[in-house]
């Protein structure tokens, strides 16, 4: 789930002119054999329905039942409890703290990574060729690194006894960070997690936005320069408006990914995140698999998906709007 779920249409793109020409005749012909395309789609649809659609329905059903370990072992239908799980979750202050934390983390992480990503994308156009290559190579390595490996690397770097971060900070005059534990204070712990997420997210953002910057016509910038525009004016009035569709999409994706944070806080806290390090995803998981409260966990998942629904719908609408889906 880490990198990007991406269509690589652009590489092979360039078929746009064909699409427009002769559509009418083609449409007429293709419509006749409408059985074949369905036949081709059936295996995919069956698999998606069976292993995504059905679990989704089951998740909702489960959230209205009370599934515990006993029902799991005996295989009996768990008792119906109506809205009990929801009232329990929604009236629990711990839950609301987790929601607040997840939202706050998402906001901070997304803003920082998009701003830095954009800055790096702009920087890449300014630096010498060799430096640009160095930046791309560095980012490619980071991008390729599996999430869990990256999390383990950060766990090691921030280790309280032998971590290199404490060693380096300790060298600063007047700073004593020997044996400093980064996860005692949640603010510090979350800074580590946020740094990890931002660090891992920058390559996708910077490289994508850099590709987007090639769309900014030189003439516009030149004209602006001639008219005496400063860099910030050019950025605000020319670059950002042109980049807006792309920025919207990468920001939306970042929101979706960061809101579902699991791997990073899970791994950095040794698979047992303390209450201060729970996000919605880990909270639901811990309730279900740690405490065998499968129904309660499902209710939390349902609420999580509902919270995300707006953003997801926005993303899909955006994909249709820019004509990627044709």
């Amino acid at each position: 789930m880490s990198v990007v779920e991406t269509p690589a249409t652009r590489r092979t793109g360039g078929s746009t002119p064909h699409r427009a020409s002769g559509r009418a005749t083609r449409t007429r012909r293709r419509r006749q054999g409408s059985g074949l395309p369905w036949l081709l789609s059936v295996p995919t649809l069956l698999l998606l329905a069976g292993l995504l659609g059905y679990p989704l329905v089951r998740m909702v059903v489960l959230s209205f039942q009370n599934m515990r370990l006993r029902e799991l072992i005996s295989g009996r239908t768990p008792p119906w409890v109506g809205l009990d799980n929801y009232t329990r979750v929604l009236s629990d202050s711990v839950f609301w703290t987790v929601v607040g934390r997840t939202v706050a983390f998402t906001a901070v992480a997304v803003i920082i990574s998009v701003v830095i990503g954009l800055a790096i994308a702009l920087l890449m156009r300014r630096v010498a060729h060799g430096v640009r290559m160095l930046m791309i190579v560095a980012m490619m390595f980071v991008w390729a690194m599996p999430q869990l490996v990256a999390a383990q690397a950060f766990r090691w770097i921030t280790d309280s006894d032998f971590g290199v971060l404490n060693y380096l900070l300790d060298m600063l005059p007047g700073v004593h960070y020997q044996n400093h534990s980064w996860f005692v204070n949640p603010w510090q712990g979350w800074s580590v997690i946020t740094t990890l997420v931002v660090w891992a997210g920058i390559p996708f953002l910077a490289i994508t936005l850099n590709a987007g910057l090639t769309q900014v016509p030189k003439e516009l910038i030149e004209a602006a320069t001639v008219d005496g525009a400063t860099f910030w004016q050019a950025l605000r009035n020319i670059i950002l408006p042109i980049l807006k569709p792309l920025l919207t999409i990468v920001t939306t994706l970042s929101v979706i990914w960061d809101f579902g944070l699991f791997t990073q806080n899970w791994a950095l806290r040794d698979g047992h995140p303390e209450p201060e390090y729970q996000t919605l995803a880990t909270y639901s998981y811990t309730q279900a698999f740690g405490q065998s409260r499968y129904s309660l966990g499902s209710a939390i998942s349902v609420i999580t998906v509902l919270l995300m629904l707006g953003v997801m719908a926005f993303y899909i609408r955006q994909m249709f709007k820019i004509g990627e889906v044709d």
């Binding site: 249409t9 789609s41 599996p146 032998f162 579902g260 699991f262 791994a267 040794d270 995803a281």
Partner: protein, 298 residues
């Protein structure tokens, strides 16, 4: 004002405008600053990667030294050896390969058919299928883990490599369909039509034109599917017992059970990452375009 505008075109060839965007306010000092920031940024990005490598080649005494060395003074392969000798490591590597390859192969076959339908046919319900495929990529898989676990348990597919393979197949299927769709629609329809006029059947068009021309796309798609399945650990860790994990899950379990042996852990992390990094660097051109493809009109 008029003079300025008139002079501008004449002056343009002399000014070096190699890239349009950042020419505003370009100065020598600014360029030096930009290059410096670029180098510092790259070093910052690379540091964790370097530190993993650095640690993996250190003997235990050097790993647990209060003053860390920035280059191993006595480089050794011991950590890699002990990773290989560690419990379950080879088993997990094999499991990971089996599960990943089965998932990728399945997703490729199934997904290609659907991609063909979406890319080459106009039919009732096409938009609906696209909508489903886009939407399911956004559903957090962890949310579905509870019902999935209960479902697979009912049919005795928990603690089984088959159950995980099927789950991974579905995990990478939407992406596979979506990417292949892009590759197929990149093949000019005129080729199909010419072949049909020359007397090819639909089947021949598929075998002789579409399949060979989608070749690179199939490679890129399967490699990316491989990366996704290889990197997954939450599902397999939840569904299966310790003997049936993959390497990612090994990295996670290794930390909890025996305290942390950082050297072997970093060595294991490198071994685990190698296929992913190599594959990623091969197909990075395809990945970089991203979910965002349409927003960058070339």
């Amino acid at each position: 004002m008029v003079a300025t505008t008139a002079a501008a075109p004449a002056a343009r060839p002399r000014r070096r405008v190699d890239d349009g965007v950042m020419t505003v306010g370009r100065s020598r000092a600014g360029t030096i600053a930009a290059n410096t920031i670029g180098v510092i940024f790259s070093l910052f990005m690379l540091f964790p990667v370097y530190w993993v490598l650095n640690t993996a080649f250190k003997p235990p005494t050097e790993v647990l030294a209060l003053t860390p060395t920035f280059v191993p003074t006595h480089p050794t392969f011991d950590n890699f050896l002990s990773a290989f000798k560690a419990q379950y490591f080879l088993q997990d590597m094999l499991n990971g390969l089996v599960v990943t390859l089965m998932a990728v192969a399945g997703a490729l076959v199934v997904g290609f058919l659907a991609a063909l339908a979406i890319a080459r046919f106009k039919f009732f319900g096409r938009k609906g299928i696209i909508l489903v495929i886009l939407a399911v990529q956004l559903v957090p898989f962890i949310a579905l883990l509870i019902p999935l676990f209960l479902m697979l348990q009912r049919v005795s597919l928990t603690d089984s490599l088959i159950g995980v393979s099927i789950t991974y197949l579905v995990l990478i299927l939407p992406y596979t369909v979506w990417t292949l769709r892009g590759f197929i629609s990149g093949i000019p329809r005129e080729l199909d039509e010419a072949a049909l006029i020359d007397g090819c059947t639909r089947g021949q068009v598929f075998w002789r034109i579409i399949l060979p021309l989608t070749g690179p796309g199939l490679v890129a798609t399967s490699v990316y599917g491989f990366i996704q399945a290889w990197n997954e650990f939450i599902i397999i860790n939840t569904l299966n017992s310790p003997a049936k994990q993959n390497l990612m899950a090994w990295l996670l379990q290794n930390q909890t059970t025996r305290g942390t042996a950082w050297g072997p852990l970093m060595a294991g992390a490198i071994i685990t990452s190698i296929p992913v990094v190599v594959f990623f660097l091969i197909i990075q051109r395809n990945i970089a375009t991203g979910l965002t493809a349409g927003a960058v009109k070339g």
